[in-house]
Symmetry: C2
Subunit: 139 residues, 2 copies
DNA sequence: GTAAGTACGCACATAAAGGTAAGTACCCAT
DNA sequence: ATGGGTACTTACCTTTATGTGCGTACTTAC
């Protein structure tokens, strides 16, 4: 996908020069910016559900699996890894014999979780209006 | 995908009985709820960009195409249709000879747009912290 | 008159996301 | 000792999303 990013235009702001105060965030329209990936993780099919579920407290892997109806183990593990990698989810594994792992939100995770939930809530709340706008629900 | 939705559990709340006050919104954990699709459209790869772009005012098709660097005509048209179908974008076509179409946000669209932008902004603003959390940026 | 721009639609192809099934290592209840 | 639960991983396959390129109908610019 030929992203002719010709000159080395900064995607995320030089992380060690003028950082602190201004911190230019080159996202949205900059394809290579890592924040795009973060957004992807957070708004992924199961990411939203997991974040919201965890807003309700610590959960074990299988608890999440049961609560998030329809998710496969593969995707649950994958999504949790993404969120963990982004620093939103904290994983605590107990070295007991039948595996026991607990997942919870980090302070940062709680923040995004709330934002995501806010968006989801807005959509839910305005669904009737949205549906009313168009009789033919384009798939 | 055997969604054993056994009994007819409401996905979106009966839109004409206990509506007004309570309005049960059966989203998030209800796979069949249309709000899932809306979320998908809104958080899609180009949906976010388009909404943000339109927050800046009315745009023509090719204006959007140029502004949203990297989008293909196909996807731009597709995403605009989704958003139009959801009642977020208003399409106005002038019956002139070289096609002239203008896209803008509806009041509803402006609201979601702001929510989406809020999430995106949060992520952008906290990217340094997010990146700092994990040295290995899981793809 | 030849090229380019406009706003798409259509068909084909690939990439990415997601699902399915099975395996692992070990424990507890029956 | 057989089955089920726990927390995953890996290999394989399907679905969905997105990209590429071409065609249109007509006009203005060169």
């Amino acid at each position: 996908m030929h992203n002719d990013n010709g000159s080395d235009s900064p995607q995320v702001a030089e992380a060690s020069s003028t950082l602190s105060a201004k911190m230019r965030r080159g996202d949205l329209f900059a394809e290579k910016c890592p924040s795009r990936d973060v957004l992807k993780h957070v708004t992924s099919r199961w990411g939203v559900l997991i974040l919201v579920a965890l807003l309700g407290g610590t959960h074990r892997f299988s608890d999440l699996r049961r609560k998030t109806v329809g998710v496969s183990e593969r995707m649950l593990a994958q999504t949790l890894k993404w969120l963990e990698g982004d620093g939103f989810v904290a994983r605590k594994a107990y070295p007991v014999v039948p595996p026991h792992v607990e997942y919870s939100l980090t302070p940062l995770g709680r923040e995004v979780g709330l934002k995501v939930q806010a968006l989801a809530d807005w959509i839910e709340g305005n669904l009737p209006q949205i549906m009313a706008a168009q009789p033919a629900p384009e798939k």
